[in-house]
């Protein structure tokens, strides 16, 4: 079991949440090239280590949030950020 720190509801079992995957900034539709869209849609860093990712608290506050998790050890660090926004590196 993975205890996920929801910014509104506190620690919740990951089964109560929906995993949203890697958090990436959406390209600007006015200027984005097909290559950038392809990268945004499909390509992933998929690191074995620290990763900023999004979660949806589907059976609690029903809001998206962003947090940093170590994909090798399932530890969390930094407080979760409310909203589906990219944290960490630019």
């Amino acid at each position: 079991m993975l205890l996920v720190p929801c910014p509104n509801c506190g620690p919740r079992n990951s089964e109560d949440l929906r995993y949203g995957g890697e958090s990436h900034a959406r390209p600007d539709p006015a200027t984005a090239t097909p290559q950038q869209w392809r990268g945004y849609l499909y390509l992933r860093d998929n690191p074995a280590g620290w990763l900023w990712e999004t979660w949806y608290c589907r059976s609690g506050c029903r809001r998206w949030f962003t947090l940093e998790r170590n994909t090798a050890t399932n530890e969390f660090r930094n407080p979760p950020i409310p909203g589906d926004k990219r944290g960490g590196k630019a």
Binding site: R44, N46, T71, A72
Partner: protein, 436 residues
């Protein structure tokens, strides 16, 4: 060994009854099945990943193309990853014409494998039932059956009466919450002894001159001429591999890893459309044979087969959260038990012996990523999700052809990395996964 294009360099040990008696009486040790040699400073090709895909690639490079100056490197031991953890199911009843043609070739190679590799892989063509619990999955089963028949694959939709004749243990009544409405029946599907496939390919590749290097971890892939730092990235080419046992120069690197495919590819500056999820499986205590076929239920996220020893092997959908941790969870066991009892209430007193987990590289369309990349000499055979074992022979054969000829073989052209640029995805989620 039949159909061998190139002569063996070493005679493989014989595993006959006479050899067993002779060695038993003399008290001889069996010879090592593959050599352990020093890592050379140069190879014609380096294959990363000593699982069924990597070993099959080395074997077909030697057998079909005469390329034997090849090293297979693995950071652990041969078959330590998904090759030794999968649920050993083989089948070819996929949904897309590209998928059906590809997996059907694999099934044919599995059928002749015992003869080709001179090892008993315990191929058991016991039939494969994919259950439908609602109208939409019954519709998908009919669709798959028609695609399969067009490609000459034995596959048809049957009703509850026929299902209960084939597998009487299944509850085909209308009582369950998700009653069984029908099934896609695929008689050539079955199970294979997965460890024997690893050993068979390793031994055959070794006999033809390829080298297997265990406990040899790739730390970096050396490139030149690319756009990125250190000459990596698109436009560049591979010149070697840095391992924990020293540097090796090579013009060709084939990434045959699972779980770590993205990390290895990023060493060459190639990004992949892959996320790594664990898949859990479990096995029960052995009982008398009562389940003659492989049973799969997409709606209940489970697949079941009974081994020759009598244990029931259960597999499931991948865990929802991407992680490299392979710890099992109680949620999995509870959900699995509930779903299995929904299908077979009669086994409620059976005990689970153990559960385990392996890493699966999931792609957006549930099809693999195979062939050339924007980095010259760097080939990938990755993104095998939950269906890598059944595709191993054909993947090795086709990747070997790509390496030897420098061209993408027709059978794997649909699975190129470039399909994500052009949007030509090969959607196999309906037939490849049980979690949807």
């Amino acid at each position: 060994m039949t159909g061998m294009g190139h002569r063996l360099r070493r005679r493989p040990p014989k595993y006959s009854a006479a050899a067993l008696a002779w060695r038993g009486m003399r008290g001889d040790y069996w010879p090592r099945v593959w050599r352990e040699t020093e890592l050379k400073s140069s190879y014609d090709a380096v294959v990363i990943g000593g699982g069924v895909h990597g070993l099959a690639t080395a074997y077909y490079l030697a057998r079909n193309h005469g390329i034997t100056n090849v090293a297979v490197v693995d950071k652990a031991y041969l078959g330590s990853g998904a090759s030794g953890r999968n649920t050993a199911i083989v089948r070819s009843n996929y949904l897309t014409p590209e998928g059906v043609a590809f997996y059907d070739r694999s099934l044919k190679l599995y059928n002749s494998m015992a003869l080709d590799l001179n090892i008993n892989v315990m191929m058991s063509e016991r039939g494969h039932l994919t259950l439908a619990h609602n109208d939409s999955s019954l519709r998908t089963m009919n669709w798959r059956a028609e695609v399969n028949k067009l490609q000459g694959v034995d596959s048809c939709v049957i009703g509850p009466d026929e299902i209960s004749k084939i597998a009487p243990a299944l509850d085909t009544s209308s009582h369950p919450r998700y009653p069984i409405l029908g099934a896609l029946y695929h008689p050539p599907g079955g199970i294979v002894r997965h460890d024997a496939v690893v050993w068979g390919y390793a031994r055959a590749a070794d006999c033809m001159g390829a080298e297997m290097h265990q406990k040899t971890e790739v730390l970096d892939i050396l490139c030149e001429g690319g756009d990125g730092p250190d000459g990596k990235g698109p436009g560049g080419k591979v010149v070697g591999v840095r391992t924990n046992r020293g540097d090796v120069s090579t013009p060709v690197v084939v990434n045959c890893t699972a779980g770590w495919a993205g990390l290895i590819s990023s060493m060459a500056g190639v990004r992949l459309p892959i996320t790594t999820h664990p898949l859990q499986a479990a096995v029960t205590e052995p009982v008398k044979v009562f389940l003659p076929t492989v049973v799969v239920s997409g709606s209940l996220h489970v697949y079941i087969s009974q081994t020759d020893r009598g244990e029931l092997v259960f597999g499931a959908a991948v865990d929802a959260v991407a992680t490299y941790s392979i710890r099992g969870s109680l949620e999995f066991t509870e959900e699995l038990a509930g779903h299995v009892l929904e299908l077979m209430p009669g086994i409620s007193r059976m005990r689970l012996l153990r559960q385990w987990s392996g890493l699966c590289d999931m792609t957006p369309d549930y099809s693999p990523v195979m062939g050339f990349t924007p980095v010259g000499g760097f080939l990938v055979d990755v993104g095998w999700g939950t269906y890598g074992f059944k595709a191993a022979p054909v993947s090795g054969e086709q990747m070997a052809e790509a390496v030897a000829t420098g061209r993408t073989p027709r059978l794997i052209a649909p699975f190129a990395l470039s399909r994500f640029d052009t949007g030509e995805l090969v959607g196999e989620k309906g037939a490849a996964a049980v979690g949807h």
